[in-house]
């Protein structure tokens, strides 16, 4: 299920629209994930405050979206671009890769809320494919 030229164009176009909202989108998606899928909180036991909108959630949402934005910019070579992050997740963070799907779903929900008329089924499938490709690149170093 690799990205077609059309997928790439659609993802870049949507990312262009997202612009400065990226940080907020990341924070909201992360907050939703922690609420809707409480098992994901196990990775953040070291945070003082896990509630949506809290400082650690906002900061980490921004970090995540920064990485996703970088992935959009290097969409032609995701495994290469995500190599270091893959090592981090594989050797240090050891996040079960099934959680990447969960975060992706919540990112899509936030996009649907914030861009209701832009997030058509065609845009949805392109974004879902892109986030799946990012997740795959992130899992690359696991074993």
């Amino acid at each position: 299920m690799s990205l077609t030229a059309k997928d790439v164009a659609v993802v870049k176009a949507l990312w262009g629209k997202i612009g400065a909202k990226a940080d907020d989108i990341g924070a909201e998606a992360l907050g939703r994930m922690l609420t809707v899928y409480p098992q994901t909180k196990t990775y953040f036991a070291h945070w003082a405050d896990l509630s949506p909108g809290s400082a650690p959630v906002k900061k980490h949402g921004k970090t995540i979206m920064g990485a996703v934005s970088a992935a959009v910019a290097s969409i032609e070579d995701l495994p290469g671009a995500m190599s270091q992050l893959s090592e981090l997740h594989a050797y240090k963070l050891r996040v079960d890769p099934s959680n990447f799907k969960i975060l992706s779903h919540n990112l899509l929900v936030v996009l649907a809320i914030q861009f209701p008329s832009d997030f058509t089924p065609e845009v949805h499938v392109a974004m879902d494919k892109f986030l799946s490709a990012v997740a795959l690149a992130l899992s690359e170093k696991y074993r």
Binding site: R32, H105, V109, A112, I113, P121, H124, V125
Partner: protein, 147 residues
């Protein structure tokens, strides 16, 4: 026996009481067929599902989307007895329709996204949690009679 908090019950009743079943059903099923094209395997007699525009404009998709949503309504009205309410439908999906139960989650995710885009900021994280829990319970009930 599924335990529902007052918030969860109220949220589910609220969402469905305000919902346009025809429109949401149509859009959710169409989205599922576009985003997860392998789900089209169950709709061989629906005619043209060749691209997103064809799927969205297909009257059989629209009609069936409404059927699915009205089917969900049964669970909305019987939240304390979803398993029993769906026993027959579970047998139907298993024995007659031969639907892979993984597809229930795919459709549920598309339904979540359609409802999210309609409710906007009203679809808070807590509302999302309640809605997804409801759809998970429905999925589990539909899966129950598979063997």
């Amino acid at each position: 026996m599924v335990e529902w908090t007052d918030f969860e019950r109220a949220t589910i009743q609220d969402i469905f009481s305000k919902m346009d079943y025809e429109s949401v059903g149509h859009n959710a099923l169409a989205r599922c067929l576009v985003v997860y094209p392998w789900t089209q395997r169950y709709f061989g007699n629906f005619g043209n599902l060749y691209n997103a525009a064809a799927i969205m404009g297909n009257p059989k998709v629209a009609a069936h989307g409404a059927v699915v949503l009205h089917g969900l309504d049964r669970a909305v009205k019987n939240m304390d007895n979803i398993k029993a309410t769906y026993a027959e439908l579970s047998v139907l999906h298993s024995e007659k329709l031969h639907v892979d139960p993984d597809n229930f989650r795919l459709l549920a995710d598309c339904l979540t996204i359609v409802v999210a885009s309609r409710l906007g900021t009203g679809f808070t994280a807590d509302v999302q949690a309640a809605f997804q829990k409801f759809l998970a319970v429905v999925g589990a009930a539909l899966r129950k009679q598979y063997h």
